[in-house]
Structure formats: structure tokens, C-alpha cells
Symmetry: C2
Subunit: 339 residues, 2 copies
Amino acid sequence: MGGVKVTSAEVAARAGVSQSAVSRVFTPGASASRKTIEKVRRAAEELGYRPNVLARAMVSGRSRIIGLVVAYLENQFYPVALERLSLALQDRGYRILIFTTPNSTDGVDAVMEDLMDYQVDGIVAASVSLGSDLAARAQAAGVPVVLFNRGQDLPSCSAVTSANRAGGRKVAEFLIAGGHRRIAHIAGWQGSSTGQDRQAGFLDAMDAAGLAPLAVMDGMYSREAAMGCARELLDANVCPDAIFVGNDHMAFAVIDALRAAGLVPGRDISVVGYDDVPLAAWGAYDLTTLRQPLNRMIAATVDTLLDQIDDPDRAPQRIEIDGPLILRGSARVPEGWTS
Amino acid sequence: MGGVKVTSAEVAARAGVSQSAVSRVFTPGASASRKTIEKVRRAAEELGYRPNVLARAMVSGRSRIIGLVVAYLENQFYPVALERLSLALQDRGYRILIFTTPNSTDGVDAVMEDLMDYQVDGIVAASVSLGSDLAARAQAAGVPVVLFNRGQDLPSCSAVTSANRAGGRKVAEFLIAGGHRRIAHIAGWQGSSTGQDRQAGFLDAMDAAGLAPLAVMDGMYSREAAMGCARELLDANVCPDAIFVGNDHMAFAVIDALRAAGLVPGRDISVVGYDDVPLAAWGAYDLTTLRQPLNRMIAATVDTLLDQIDDPDRAPQRIEIDGPLILRGSARVPEGWTS
DNA sequence: CTGAAAGCGCTTACAG
DNA sequence: CTGAAAGCGCTTACAG
């Protein structure tokens, strides 16, 4: 029952070599003779030895642990992102220490401190905002931070997002081209860059077309809030003919609200989301949406983070990745519309 | 830019005390005079000192890290479980190191080895099966393991599940009482205890009522597989009047397939799922389902795991928690049915 | 209460 | 290529 942890010294004794030799055999770059390698490997196998990663971390100053701060796990975008990120990081020899948090800046900051106590080599903050003091501390400690799906303007942090402003514009242009004239926007949380940028893009395009939005409301990235917004829109004197919703998670709520009111999405009212989570493609929602190119966003996140870990002098990056509009049944498609 | 990590020695120097004193001030149980505590806290604050958790882990033999192995993150049950687990563990001072994995036993075992390299204090294996050798190694290393939502029969592991056999029985009784006679079962993966137990319970009740199932197929806990099964059922000569699906994730696929065939769930064919994930309550699916009591399952998992960490001699537990049937619109409700 | 010292399990110059 | 030794940042008996 007692934790029978085998150490390199025990392996050394059994193999008849020094403890340093054992260490070298298990250290990728180091050199050892074939004979030593063989003796050590055999002894290690017999004893069930595996190097203690924590001890290695202490002396090398590398924990091979990446801290992940994430909120909104009920939005399918994040579990999927987590899975991809975890796989990509595992491939490169890193593991994820996960911190879930309510989305207040305070909550996030508290959790970040904890994170740094674990000597993480880098931090991915997904869908959360950092206090600028916290960002500074991470930098002071030499821990690179990349913001995933949030473009907050912190000079010391990298940020990976999709091209949200362009995306918002694209959605508006699509709806306008489809002949909609009473277009409402249930926006993503206006405390977040993604919510702001998508809304700004939407307003850009409306403006360019000489149209005023029927309504713009903050859905807070919350199912409940979005549903409330949708009900309010349906109860108003003038009913929208299209609703652009700031993300898919809220769009599902909006569709549920429309149907509850006896309306058919795509026929009576067009609904467009943002993200293209797997659920958007399922029959029950069949949601037209602006896709965030998750694979490329994850790849960019991992590359940026590991580059900065390997070379602390590398400057933070801000990466924006363009995404396509995915046409499905929840919104009327303009005649001859392509792409 | 260089990682300016502050150590206890530096704090000691500034505070004019020994390094041990600093350590004591930051060690919950230890004793120090008010004056020392004050001096040390001030110096620590000024320097931005926080204890290195990894170093503490090395000497104390406690990493305060729990390893979590999880597959099926596309099934909403798991992200929600992850979030609750993370919160519950954070409350008790533990963090989660996460490993995602394809669900083969091989994949899981490889990942478990990696996990142990990080000196985790305990392991939660959610929705995955362990090789028995691996379970033995974890035990040998003194690392307790609890299987979450999987009741595999490994004497050295604890297991927390809902009462799956009783649940399967309850669903069948409900459908039979509702007057259904052509009842099919798209089962959970038959390589898992949950899939087997729910199916066994279903068959128990069918048997007791003198009914034969119209069909029993393995949906593999996969959306695609389940959809294939549903199509096959609909194409057969005799169409089911009810389908019990092994979990909600598959049930959503089944409902999509029914609707694609022009059928209305709850009117033409009753569909019942298992889990009661949040999506089951959303308007688009409105799924009748057997709820797995997640909060209680998480609480039991955390309690069991931490108990075993604190007292290595404690015997592994197997905990089963009963869940209620949640009535919604996807299945006909028998007259006068209660609970 | 407090400090000097040993030790957790490793990696990494340093000699040989 | 190999071993003895120092050291990573802490905790924890051990004396005082």
C-alpha cells in the first residue's frame, strides 16, 4: 500500500552504474554508451522506474505544464477547443493544468496566481479577460500568456482570435443581400472583444448599406439572457425579419424561443450564429453560422505559446484568422449567393 | 524578461529571519510569532513572493494535483462534469491535470503512465476503461483511482456510477406502462459497464412484462453509430413505437433521424435517453430521460478520492446513486404516471 | 518560537 | 563515456 516510488538511485544500484548515468539514459539529449543504456533500461524495467517529472521540473526550470483558464464550458465551443488543445499539447510533450472560473476579472486573476504557483511554463486564457496587473506579473515571472478567442489589448500577451469584425460584417452583408430589412442583433457580451468586434462589424455593414438595425441588445453570451432578448424582440411592435446572434450558444436559445412562439427559423425569421460548433450542424438546429476555424486557431495558439517558451525574447503576437460563413437552413440564402 | 522568480531565501534575507521561518509562515500548520509573521508577510509582499508548489510537492510527497482522464468531450455530460469536478477540487485545494484520450484501453493506459510521472495524488478516470495491470501499478505506487461513470470491476479502484441497471429497468417500465409494445433499444457501448447495465435493466423489465424487445443494437456512444441504428430501425418492416437510447448524446441523433424521416418524437415514436444533460431540456429536443445525479456523483467522487489520499489504507468504494426519470415531450406519458 | 542542516529526486557542469 | 558533487526551492525533524 505504501507509495513504492522507485528512484534513479535504486535503478543505479541495480544496474551497477552511477545515478548520473541513469539520469542520462532518461534525458533525451545526453550521451551514454550502448552498454550502459542497456543495463539501465533493463534495471529500470525490472523495478518499474519512471523519472519523477516534478523533480526534473525543479532543476531544469521547466515543468512542461501549461495552465489553462477557461469559463463557459457549457458552450460547446470550449470543450471542443479544450480537447484539441490538449491533444496538440500532448503531442509536443506538454500537459494541461486546468482552472475553471466564473468569468469575472477578479475570479480570473485569483486563479491565475494559483496557476503561477504551479510553475507553469505558459498560460492559455480561453474566453476570459485578464487584469492588466496580472498580465504584468506573468510577464515579470517570464511566463508567456496567450489569450484564446479574446483579443484584449494587453501588450505583454499574445492573442489568437478569428477575424471577428470582418465576420460580423460578412453576416450583415449576407442578411442584407437576402432581402432582410428589419435586422436585429443579439450581441455577444459587450465586455469582451469578440462581442464588441462582431457588433462593430455588423454595424459597419448596416451603415454602408444605409440601414439602421432594428435593435441591438447584449446577450451576455448567456442562454437565459439571449432568450430574454429574443422574447422581447418578438413582443415588440415591429418584428425582426432576421436576427444575428453573437454566438451559436445563444442562437440555439433564440431558435428555441422562436419556435416556442410558433415561428419557423429560416422561413419566418432568419437566424445566423457565430462559431459553428458541432451542434449547429445537427438537425434540430441546422444553424447558419460564421465558422471560427478552430483547428487553425488551436495550432496558432500552440505555436505562439511554445515559441515564446523556447525563446523568451520573442514578441507577443496577435493573430486573426478568417472564417467562412456556413450556410444551413436557419436563414434565407440570397439568390445566386456564393461563398 | 528573464523569469524573476523570488525564493524563500530572498524573502528571509529581506525580512531578517531564517529561510525556515519564511517556510513556516507559509505552511498552514506551523507556528511562528506574530512579529515574525508580520515581517515575513511584508517582505514577501514587497518582493511578490509565492511558494513554489513543485518544490513543496517534492519534499512533502504531495503534489495537490489530481489527474483526470477523460474521453467523449463532445458528449455534454463530460464538460459539465469536468467543470463541477474542477470547482469541487479547487475548493479542497487540488488542481486538475487533464489528459484527453481516444477511448481504447491502450490509449488510456499510455496516458495513465504519463499521468503518474507527474506524481499526481490521485486519479479520476471518467468514461474510460483501465487495463488491470495499470490499475495494479497505480495501486503499487500508492495512487488511488476512482472510476467516474464507469463501474469496471477492478478491486483496487473505487467506482462512482448511477444505478444503471435500475435506471434501465425504470425506463422500460415507463415505456411499457405507456402502452408501447414494439420497443427497441439502441444501447450504450457494450464494452462499458454503463452500456451493459442499462441494457440488462431494460431486458429485466421487458422480460418481467413478458415482452421481447423489437431490437437491441449497440450505438457505441457515438452519434454516427446511433444515427445509423435509428435509420435501420425505421427502414425495417416493423417500425418501433418506442426507442430507449443508451445516453442523451445518442438520443439527440436518434431524434434528428426520426425528424428527417418526417416523424414526430413523442407522438409517432417515443424516445427516452439517459443522463439528462442540459441540452435535453432545450426546446429543440425536449427529451425525456433518466437523470444521472451529477452533483451527487461528483461529490461522491471527490470525497472518496480525498479520503483515500488522506488514508491510504482505506478500502476502495463502489458507489451507486439513484436517479429519477425526467418527463418531457419526447415520450408519451402513461395515464396517471407519477415520479 | 527559531535557525542550521538534511534531504525530496532529479540535471548538469566539472574532472577524469 | 562516466562518476562525484552541487544545487533546484522547499519542508521538517533536531537542538537550542
